[in-house]
C-alpha cells in the first residue's frame, strides 16, 4: 500500500457555499492524501453532495480555498476539475445504455488512428484496465444495458480511471446494490487505493464505510462535525456525530486540541 504523503492531494480550507438564502456549506475543512480513502458521511441535506459538486467544479465555492497538491487552485467548472485530475462518479451512473463497455469507457476520450476510431486499441486497453481492476463482466462488447447494477457501477468507476486521475470521488456507489455486488464495488475501491489514488467515498452505509475507508469525515448541517479514524472509532460514535444526537467526546476533544493548536 502506498504511504500517505505529507502534502494532501486535495485540501479544502474554510470552504463556504450559499444558494440564495440557504447556507449549504460553512467553513468546511477536508484533506485527502494519495492512497487514502476518505468517507464523507452525513444525514440527508448535510451538504455532502454540495461539497462534492464544489470539488467537481459543478458549483464554484463562495469563500475559502481549495488546494491541490499544496497549491491554491480555483475550480470554476467541471473541466477545471478534470484537468487537475479529479474524476467524479455520480450516483446516476452516466453511462450510455446503447453503447457497449468499450465505447462507454472511452466515451469523450476516444483513441483515434489517422482520424478513425481505433477500436482494437480501445478494446485492448479496456481489457487491460478491467483485468487490473479484476472487474468481471461477460464481455467488453455487450451493451451496458445487459449488465447488472453492480457491473455497471464497476464500469462507471473504471471509466473514471481512463483519464488517469489522482482523486476519484464516488457518490454513493453502493446504494441500490445487492450484497455480492456491493462487495465487488468495495473490492474495487480498495484496488483504487492500492494504485495510490485518493478516494472520496460518499455513503450512507456505515458497514461499507467501516470496511474500506481509512478516515471518515462527517458533515452536519453544512459544517464539519469531526474527522475520525475508522479503525479506532465505533459505529455508534460516527452515527451520533452524523445525527448530532450527543455532544460526543470525540468532537469535544477535537475542539479542545484545535484550540490548543492555535
Amino acid at each position: 500500500m502506498v504511504h500517505v504523503s505529507a502534502t494532501p492531494v486535495l485540501a479544502l480550507r474554510g470552504v463556504s457555499k450559499r444558494f440564495g438564502a440557504v447556507q449549504a456549506l460553512t467553513d468546511v475543512e477536508l484533506e485527502i492524501h494519495a492512497g487514502e480513502v476518505v468517507a464523507l458521511v452525513g444525514d440527508n441535506g448535510a451538504g455532502k453532495s454540495t461539497l462534492v459538486k464544489t470539488i467537481a467544479g459543478v458549483h464554484p465555492i463562495d469563500e475559502g480555498a481549495i488546494e491541490w497538491e499544496g497549491k491554491r487552485v480555483s475550480i470554476g467548472r467541471p473541466h477545471d476539475a478534470q484537468a487537475l485530475g479529479i474524476a467524479t462518479v455520480y450516483q446516476d451512473l452516466a453511462l450510455c445504455d446503447n453503447l457497449d463497455v468499450v465505447q462507454n469507457l472511452f466515451l469523450g476520450r476516444e483513441i483515434r488512428r489517422v482520424g478513425v476510431l481505433d477500436e482494437v486499441e480501445m478494446e485492448k486497453r479496456s481489457r487491460e484496465l478491467l483485468h487490473t481492476l479484476s472487474i468481471r463482466i461477460p464481455s467488453v462488447r455487450i451493451p451496458i444495458a445487459s449488465l447488472s447494477g453492480g457491473q455497471r457501477q464497476t464500469v462507471a468507476i473504471a471509466r473514471s480511471l481512463i483519464g488517469e486521475p489522482k482523486l476519484v470521488i464516488l457518490d454513493e456507489p453502493t446504494a441500490a446494490l445487492g450484497v455480492e455486488q456491493t462487495a465487488q464495488v468495495l473490492d474495487l475501491v480498495e484496488r483504487l487505493r492500492e494504485r495510490g489514488l485518493a478516494v472520496i467515498l460518499i455513503s450512507h452505509n456505515m458497514v461499507d464505510v467501516k470496511a474500506v475507508a481509512d478516515r471518515v469525515a462527517i458533515l452536519r448541517l453544512g459544517r464539519n462535525n469531526g474527522v475520525f479514524d475508522v479503525k479506532t472509532t465505533s459505529q455508534e460514535q460516527i452515527i451520533s456525530a452524523i445525527t448530532g444526537a450527543t455532544d460526543n467526546a470525540v468532537t469535544r476533544r477535537q475542539a479542545r486540541s484545535a484550540e490548543a493548536d492555535k
Binding site: V4, C96, G115, R136, R141, A145, S146, S257
Partner: protein, 436 residues
C-alpha cells in the same frame, strides 16, 4: 480545524488496512474460473450458431425482419404478376429508391437521436424549387444552383436544430412548423405558375437518368466492393489477433463476404440486363456507405449514438450535445435537399406538388421499416436503403397490378405499423433480456 488534529488524522495507520485489502480472495484466478454468466464464445460453426441464436432470442434482430419482408413482398408480387421480377421493373425500382432513400438517410440520423424531423418533405421540395428558380429563371450556372439548393436544406435543418437544441422547443413541433412554413416558402419561390420546367438534358436530369451502359462497370464495381469488404475484414481480424483481442471467426467473414458477393453480382447482372448501373443508385450507395463509416468509425458518429443513448451521460462525457443536435438536423436538411434534387430530376421540373403527398411518410417509413429504432440510439444508414426498397417495391407492385393509390396507402401504412411493432417488440425483448 478537525483535519489538522494530529491525534485523529495521523492515527490512520496505512499498514492496519493491509489485512483488509488481502482479505478478499485474489481475483486474478476468478477470471480464469468460468463464471456461468459469462458469454464465452465457442469457436467454429457451433459457436457461431449459438451466438446467432442468442442474439435472435434476446431481440437483436438487426436487418432480418426487413430482409424477410422484402423477400415476401417480392414473392407475392411475382406470384400476382410475373413481370415484377423482370430486369426492367427491378431497374425502375432501383431508380425510384434513390430520392426517398436519400431523404431517409437524413431521417435515420435524426431518429438515432431519438427525435423526428417532419419537415424533410417540403425541404426537399423547396431545394428543388430553389435550384429551378436560380438556374432557369436567373441563369445561375447549374452546378452553383445545385450547391445553393442543397445548402438551403442545410441552413433550414440547422435553423430547426437551433430552435430544438438551444431554445428547447420539441423537435416535433419545430419541424411541424417547418412542414407548413417550407411548403409556403416553396410555393412562394415557384411563383404564380407553380411549375418550372428544367432544362432538357440538364444537370438534374442527367444526375437522375444517366446509366453506365458498359456491363463491365457494374460487374467491376461489384468486384471492387466485395474485395474491399473482404480485405478490410481480414485486415481488421488480423490486427485484432495481433493485439490479442477476440476477432471475428473466419467463418463469419466468409459467410458475409459470400452473401455480399451474391447480392452485388446479382444486382449488377439484373441492372445490366436493363439499362446498366444508374449513376443515381451509385451515388446513393456511396452516401449510405460513407455515412455508415462515419457513424461507426468516427468520433462524431460515436457522439451521435451517445446522445441518442443518454443525453446526461453524453453531456458528462464532455460531448457538446447542442452541437450534435444542430449538426444532425443540418445533416437531415442537407439530405432532404439532396433527395429533392433527385426527385426533381425524376420529373425534370420543380412543381408545387413536390414534397407533398406521401413523400414525408415514405421517407420516415423507409428509415423505420429498415430497422432504425424510433426510440433513439439504434440504427444504421443501411436501413434507409432497405426501407426504401420495401416502400418502392410496394408502390411499383401496385402500379403494375393497376391497383389504385387508396390500396397502396393502406398497404404501406400496414407495413409501417408492422415495422414499428417489430421495433417495439424487439426493444421490449431486449429489455427483458437486459439488452435494450
Amino acid at each position: 480545524m478537525s483535519t489538522d488534529n494530529p491525534d485523529l488524522t495521523k492515527a490512520a495507520p496505512p499498514a492496519a488496512t493491509e489485512d483488509e485489502v488481502a482479505a478478499p480472495p485474489p481475483a486474478a484466478d476468478a477470471i480464469v474460473a468460468v463464471d456461468p454468466r459469462l458469454l464465452v464464445r465457442e469457436q467454429g460453426l457451433a459457436g457461431y450458431l449459438t451466438e446467432f441464436r442468442r442474439r435472435v432470442r434476446s431481440g437483436d434482430l438487426g436487418s432480418m425482419p426487413v430482409i424477410a419482408a422484402l423477400v415476401i413482398i417480392w414473392g407475392v408480387f411475382q406470384g400476382l404478376n410475373s413481370t415484377f421480377l423482370s430486369a426492367n421493373n427491378l431497374s425502375t425500382i432501383a431508380f425510384n429508391v434513390v430520392g426517398v432513400g436519400m431523404i431517409a438517410v437524413g431521417i435515420v440520423f435524426v431518429l438515432l437521436l431519438g427525435e423526428i424531423d417532419l419537415s424533410v418533405s417540403y425541404v426537399s421540395g423547396l431545394a428543388g424549387a430553389v435550384f429551378a428558380v436560380l438556374s432557369v429563371n436567373h441563369g445561375v450556372p447549374q452546378g452553383l444552383a445545385l450547391v445553393l439548393g442543397i445548402l438551403t436544406g442545410t441552413a433550414i435543418g440547422a435553423l430547426q436544430g437551433f430552435f430544438f437544441a438551444k431554445v428547447g422547443v420539441p423537435a416535433f413541433v419545430v419541424t411541424l412548423a417547418g412542414f407548413l412554413a417550407w411548403n409556403g416558402a416553396m410555393l412562394w419561390v415557384l411563383g404564380k405558375n407553380g411549375t418550372i420546367n428544367l432544362q432538357s438534358g440538364g444537370l438534374l436530369y442527367n444526375l437522375y437518368n444517366y446509366t453506365f451502359a458498359d456491363v463491365a462497370f457494374a460487374y467491376g464495381l461489384a468486384l471492387i466492393a466485395v474485395l474491399l469488404y473482404l480485405g478490410s475484414s481480414l485486415w481488421e481480424a488480423n490486427r485484432r489477433r495481433k493485439a490479442g483481442v477476440p476477432s471475428r471467426p473466419m467463418l463469419d467473414i466468409g459467410i458475409k463476404t459470400a452473401a455480399l458477393a451474391i447480392v452485388a453480382f446479382v444486382a449488377a447482372w439484373v441492372l445490366n440486363q436493363a439499362e446498366g448501373l444508374p449513376l443515381c443508385l451509385l451515388l446513393f450507395l456511396l452516401v449510405v456507405v460513407g455515412f455508415d463509416l462515419m457513424l461507426r468509425r468516427t468520433t462524431y458518429g460515436r457522439q451521435i449514438f451517445a446522445v441518442g443513448g443518454g443525453i446526461e451521460a453524453a453531456r458528462r462525457a464532455g460531448i457538446n450535445v447542442a452541437w450534435i443536435r444542430i449538426s444532425v438536423f443540418g445533416l437531415a436538411g442537407t439530405m432532404a435537399a439532396v433527395g429533392g434534387m433527385f426527385l426533381a430530376g425524376q420529373v425534370n421540373s420543380a412543381q408545387s406538388t413536390q414534397g407533398g403527398g406521401n413523400t414525408l411518410m415514405n421517407a420516415i417509413a423507409a428509415a423505420v421499416i429498415g430497422g432504425t429504432s424510433l426510440f433513439g440510439g439504434r440504427g444504421k444508414t443501411w436501413s434507409a436503403l432497405l426501407g426504401a426498397l420495401v416502400i418502392v417495391s410496394i408502390q411499383q407492385g401496385m402500379y403494375i397490378l393497376n391497383l389504385n393509390t387508396a390500396i397502396q396507402y393502406m398497404i404501406t401504412g400496414a407495413v409501417l405499423l408492422a415495422a414499428v411493432v417489430v421495433d417495439s417488440v424487439s426493444r421490449r425483448t431486449q429489455k427483458n433480456s437486459g439488452r435494450a
